[in-house]
Structures are given as C-alpha cells and as structure tokens.
C-alpha cells in the first residue's frame, strides 16, 4: 500500500479542499449552529460519525449493487435514500442505547440528512476512487479515509467559526450587518487564510 497517497488524501480533505471553506458544502449548519462552541462541537462530532459510516455504506452499495447491474445513473437516488435511512436508524438506536448521548447530539442528527456535505463526500468518493486502475482495497480505504477526514475538516471549521462568533457577540457591528451577514464576512476571511494551504505541493 502506498501510505504517501493516503497522507495526501487526508491533508487535502482536511485543509486544502476543506469542505466548508473551499468546496462550499454544508454551509447551512456552518452558519446555523456555529453561534456557540458547545453545539458546534456536537454537530461536528455527529457529522464525522454519519459521514464516515455513510461513506462505508454507499461504497458497498455502489460497488456491489449499482455497478454489477449497470445502474450507475441511479446513484443520486440510491445514495440519498441510504443516507436518509441510515440517519433515521442512528437516531433511533442512539435514543434507545445511549440517552445521554442522544440528549447531547440528538437534535443535530435529523439536520444531517439535508447536510449536503454528507451526500457530497459520497459522490466525490465515487468520482475520485472508482477509476479502472485502482485496486478494490485502495478504493475502499481511500473512500473511508476521505469521508472521515472531510468530517474532521468540517469540525475544524465549525470550531474556529464558533470561537470567533462568541467574541463577535460582544463587538459593535453595523446594524444591517449584524448576525448572518457578518458571519459570512468572517467566513470569507477564514477561507482566505485557508487558501494559503493550497500552496502545499505533494
């Protein structure tokens, strides 16, 4: 196995192509749940969990269900259904097995179905890691790794943003820009900082 390639995938998913700040995926929770650090952390953790397991399930569905029957064009329908069902199942299992965890993360779980970052990472996995010259093992590990690291990148951006917004509450912002508009402007500055990572060459 080529460990260098995996390293590249990880760093690229976390920093260079950060899902929120460079690819514009998952902006709704990024703006909606980033007012305080604690919920931002909860949302980040929930997204990492759901993303990694959705990456796992959709890889299996695509490889062993859609490709053998020549149904690749159904991937959008298949993936969104798998994700929606999976998210619902996680919510129910969590409520039964760990009520404490459910109280902490429960309200974020349904929101994740319509989080475009989750569907985005599964579609990207299919686009990037289903080329002819790739072995099954590499494609599988690379897909899982990209899903997991995209989640980490999501949580990183959420955490940074919530830290800034907690301080932003105390500042004197022009009335028209208060709230969401200033959050976008802050996000723009953060994204400028993340552009610096695109200088990394491997």
């Amino acid at each position: 196995m080529d460990y260098g390639k995996f390293m590249t995938i990880a760093i690229s998913a976390i920093f260079i192509n950060n899902f929120i700040l460079t690819r514009f995926l998952g902006l709704c929770p990024f703006i909606g749940v980033s007012k305080q650090t604690k919920p931002a952390l909860g949302m980040g953790a929930a997204v990492i969990f759901v993303m990694t397991l959705s990456g796992f399930i959709t890889w299996i569905v695509y490889k062993y269900l859609l490709v053998p029957f020549g149904l690749e064009y159904l991937r959008t329908i298949a993936f969104i259904l798998v994700i929606a069902v999976f998210v619902q199942a996680v919510e129910m299992a969590m409520a039964k097995l760990s009520p404490a965890l459910y109280r902490a993360m429960g309200i974020y779980i349904p929101l994740i179905t319509t989080n475009c970052a989750v569907l985005g990472v599964t579609v990207l996995n299919v686009n990037m890691f289903f080329k002819k010259d790739m072995s099954i093992g590499f494609s599988f590990i690379a897909s899982l790794l990209q899903a997991f690291c995209a989640g980490i990148g999501f949580m990183l951006a959420m955490l940074l943003m919530s830290g800034i917004r907690e301080r932003l509450d105390l500042t004197d912002v022009p009335q028209s820009l208060a709230g969401i508009p200033i959050a976008f402007i802050v996000a723009s500055l953060m994204s400028m900082a993340f552009l610096g990572f695109s200088g990394f060459k491997f």
């Binding site: 998952g26 959008t76 929606a84 319509t114 569907l119 969401i180 723009s188 994204s191 552009l195």
Partner: protein, 195 residues
C-alpha cells in the same frame, strides 16, 4: 386572479429564497463564479422545483405523514436524475463546470422546503406558481451574485470584456469572494428593508 399572481410574486422579492430565507446557500456560492454557471444552475433547480412541487401537490393526500420526508426525497431525486442525464447528454461543458453540484440539487433546502411548507398543503396550480416564483427568485439571486463576481473577478460579463484595461481581482472568483459578496448583499438587503 390576484392571489395567483401573489403566489408567483412572493418568491421573487419578499420571500426570496437566497436573500430573505437564506436557503440553498451551498450551490449559490459554489457555482456563481461566472454568469453561465449561475444561469445553468438556476434553470436546473427551477426545473426540479417545478416538477417536484407539481408531483408532490398532486399526490399529497396519498402520502402518509410519518414518512413524508423520504417520499419527497424520492420524488426530488427522480427529477434530479433526469436533469443529470439531460445535462450530460446535451450540455457536457456545463455539466463538467457544475460538477458535483448537479447531484447535490437533491439536498438543496429550497426544494425540500417548498415541498414541505407549500406543495404538501396546496393545490397543483398554486404549487406550480409557487415553484416558478421561487425558482425565478433563486435564479435572479444567482444572476446578481454571479454578475458581481464575474465582473470583479474576471473583468467580463458572459465572457465579454467590459472595460478596457480593468485589472480583475482573482480572489473574487475564488471561495473568499463568494462568501464576501453574499455577506454584503444580505447586509444590503437588510439595510433596504430597514429604511
């Protein structure tokens, strides 16, 4: 007649999905780096919105309340797949530049939001008009953002050079420019409302 027109009109200004309701932001920012992409996404999303609103409003009495969201998602995903295949067949260049955001129309919150908030409670005619209004509002928002970004970022409009010797700022077609433009436009909309 007046209320029919009102359903159509509200999506364009007062309940504009992008500037007032803040829905569907990811595609708005990601594909608005030039006018062609913005228009393409606007038309694709309007088509899906119209189709799903018509179907959902006509079968709204058959859908059990508990599993309505998965039902809506299947209807929406069907139309998105139609758009995906059409774009691949007839507009391959546009398809490549919109990339991953074509399948992601499924999770565009405008479409699911209108299905849940409007089409599930209203007749087919009203739902179709609502979809058209919202779709055009979304398209207009995309058009405004993408014109600003294309002009400042590449110095062109629809690919034509506008001012001789204008030095474009590349940052405007990259991610930071998109976030900045949207933030300032929402602020401007708030300022207009407060006056």
């Amino acid at each position: 007649m007046k209320s029919l027109f009102a359903e159509f009109k509200k999506g364009i200004h007062i309940e504009n999905p992008t500037f007032a309701l803040l829905l569907g932001l990811c595609p708005t920012l990601a594909v608005s780096n030039n006018i062609r992409n913005g228009l393409g996404m606007g038309i694709a999303a309007t088509f899906v919105l119209l189709g799903s609103n018509i179907i959902i409003s006509s079968i709204r009495k058959l859908i059990p309340t508990k599993i309505r969201i998965p039902c809506y998602i299947v209807v929406i995903a069907t139309f998105v797949t139609i758009v995906e295949l059409l774009l691949k067949a007839y507009f391959p260049v546009l398809d490549r530049s919109l990339g991953i955001f074509v399948p992601l129309i499924v999770v565009n919150c405008i479409i699911l939001g209108r299905a849940e908030a409007f089409a599930s409670k209203n007749t087919v005619t009203y739902s179709a008009l609502d979809a058209l209004g919202m779709g055009i509002g979304f398209m207009l928002a995309l058009l405004i953002i993408s014109s600003i970004r294309e002009f400042l970022g590449s110095g062109t409009l629809l690919g034509f050079q506008i001012i001789q010797g204008f030095q474009p700022a590349i940052i405007m077609v990259l991610a930071p420019g998109a976030l900045m433009t949207l933030g300032l436009l929402i602020g401007f909309n708030n300022w207009l409302k407060r006056r």
